[in-house]
Amino acid sequence: MPAPPVPDRAVTGDLPARSPRRRSRRRAVVTLAATLGGLVVLLVVAGGVAISLGPVSVPPGDVVAILAEHLGVPLGEVTTREALVVEQIRLPRVLVAVLVGAALGLAGSVMQALFGNPLAEPGVTGVSAGAAVGAVLAITSGAAGTFVLPAAAFAGALLTVGAVYGIAALSRSRGLATVLLVGIALNALLGAVVSALVANAPDEQSLRGIVFWLQGDLDARTWEHVRLVLLPVLAGVAATVVFSRDLNVMLLGDDAARTSGVDVARTRNVLLVLASLLTGAAVSVSGVIGFVGLVAPHVIRLIAGPDHRLLLPASALLGAVFLVSADTAARMLPAPVTLQTGVVTALAGAPVFLLLVLWSRRSTA
């Protein structure tokens, strides 16, 4: 350690040109560009493959031509049948997967940051369970339609968020631990309600509908669904990204964050509600889909570090890539096997997660 320096703002001229910090700064910019760029390329490829594969196979060239025509760039002739399949069936389904995956990846990384715990997932406050109750009620009452089902699910999610806050406020300690405990209790309670509704399902068909919803599936998603989820997701992404540097500082703990200029209580409340609504909006159109929100932030943190200015958008992109790929896999499984999208995300996500746990344990040990 050198002699006492003068740690005043009036000191020092320029840095040495090759300072180690300068290099690490450049590295940070390169990591950011490479990660986000790479993920965008991955997403485009995964989306293109998803649109091209299916019972009616559409060659990649035709996919590009069809999409280009919609953007006003005629590239060549395609059959109307292909165009219809792409426009009415595959494209909306892929877009729903992108939006839902992005919402879950983002909500997962926000929840993990807020709770300072890499095991937090988007449904930690009970929103997914609340959405499930809403959806199951809609299905058993026979009211489920393209619009009613997501609306009922979202209403369930909203009520749950309200309940979490109401109960936490009543307990007078609005600390995070309280929110977590209330979330655990609500998850258990709402899970029991869902089980009761399942046990008393009026008929075989609603039972099937319920099981499908609870496992999460993107079958028969239309432009209507895209419209339902587009605005909430875009707004949520924009709003959470605003707080990305605050999230970094909040990981130093409440005291350090507040004395570094973060209004911890307010930021936390805003982000909890935002992430919960984002999750609610996503599962409302897709059903409950696990592991996307848990795994995506982990992978990004491992390859690009914990800075939320990169972590948030990258987790959203990776969540989208993951869900689009899982949904394509679910669709393309050979004949006798049928798996739902949510089952594939768990089947693929759980082993990946285990590997990550082993890997990170080893590298920190």
Partner: protein, 257 residues
């Protein structure tokens, strides 16, 4: 300048601080000393705006700290907590840069000035070689030095440090206290919680001895560090002598009473 005026702080039903008055002008370095549980941390946190007093107030340049927005307050007061848990693997340099948070706009990236402040703070605390290490892999003392670097990078006229040398070796204890001393000499207001009374007497022009949530004595070391005060605060029999080498007071505790 920090003025603490008739401060009373309660938590639940217990009174933690009562009737605390203190004034620390710019350019001074005040050591808060006192036994475990005396209320040192609570006092520092209240000055940092983290605790709302139930009576009295803390004034920063004549304005109550509780009326200031966190960002405004953080530009004026930097606070080094007693311990900090960090659950995600930020590097030491990233943590130091976080000290620049209150100076940056919401969408701004760190500019050259921010990087300069962070590099300088790391150089000053001798942590430059740790810059690219993950905070999780640092020793307790190294972590404390990095968090001090973060507080310095914050570049605030008031610096509050809660036991900044408790995890440090001999050399780093001296180095950190010299550094804080230099901050005060450069015109900042420094409040530091210390357990080592000898270091406190050597580096600080003023001491405040806290016991049971009250200020037992405050002022220059010779006034505060008396056998009677030490007996009352710590419950020990102690002798206080002037050390020829450092020309400051030294305390030797002989036995508990």
């Amino acid at each position: 300048m920090i003025v603490v005026d008739g401060l009373r702080v309660e938590a639940g039903k217990s009174v933690i601080l009562d009737g605390v008055d203190l004034t620390v002008p710019p350019g001074r370095m005040l050591a808060l000393v006192g036994p475990n549980g005396a209320g040192k941390t609570t006092l520092l946190r209240t000055i940092a705006g983290l605790h709302r007093p139930s009576r009295g107030r803390v004034l920063l340049e004549d304005r109550p700290v509780h009326s200031l927005r966190p960002q405004v307050l953080a530009r004026r007061i930097a606070y080094l907590p007693q311990d900090t848990a960090l659950s995600f693997p930020f590097t030491a340099y990233q943590v130091t840069l976080m000290g620049r948070h209150p100076h940056m706009g919401r969408f701004a990236l760190e500019g050259a000035a921010d990087h300069e402040a962070a590099e300088q703070a790391m150089a000053a605390t001798g942590t430059t070689r740790l810059a690219d290490r993950s905070m999780a892999t640092l020793s307790g003392g190294e972590r404390q030095l990095v968090l001090l670097a973060k507080a310095l990078a914050q570049d605030a006229p008031v610096l509050l440090a809660d036991e900044p040398v408790s995890a440090l070796d001999l050399r780093h204890q001296l180095a950190v206290l010299q550094l804080l001393r230099a901050c005060a000499d450069a015109g900042r207001t420094v409040l530091v919680v210390l357990h080592d009374l000898n270091l406190a007497a050597r580096y600080c022009t003023e001491l405040a001895l806290l016991a049971g949530g009250r200020v037992l004595a405050a002022g220059e070391p010779a006034h505060v560090l008396t056998p009677a005060h030490l007996h009352e605060a710590y419950g020990v029999r102690a002798v206080v002598r002037r050390d020829d080498v450092t020309d400051s007071l030294t305390v030797t505790a002989l036995e508990t009473t």
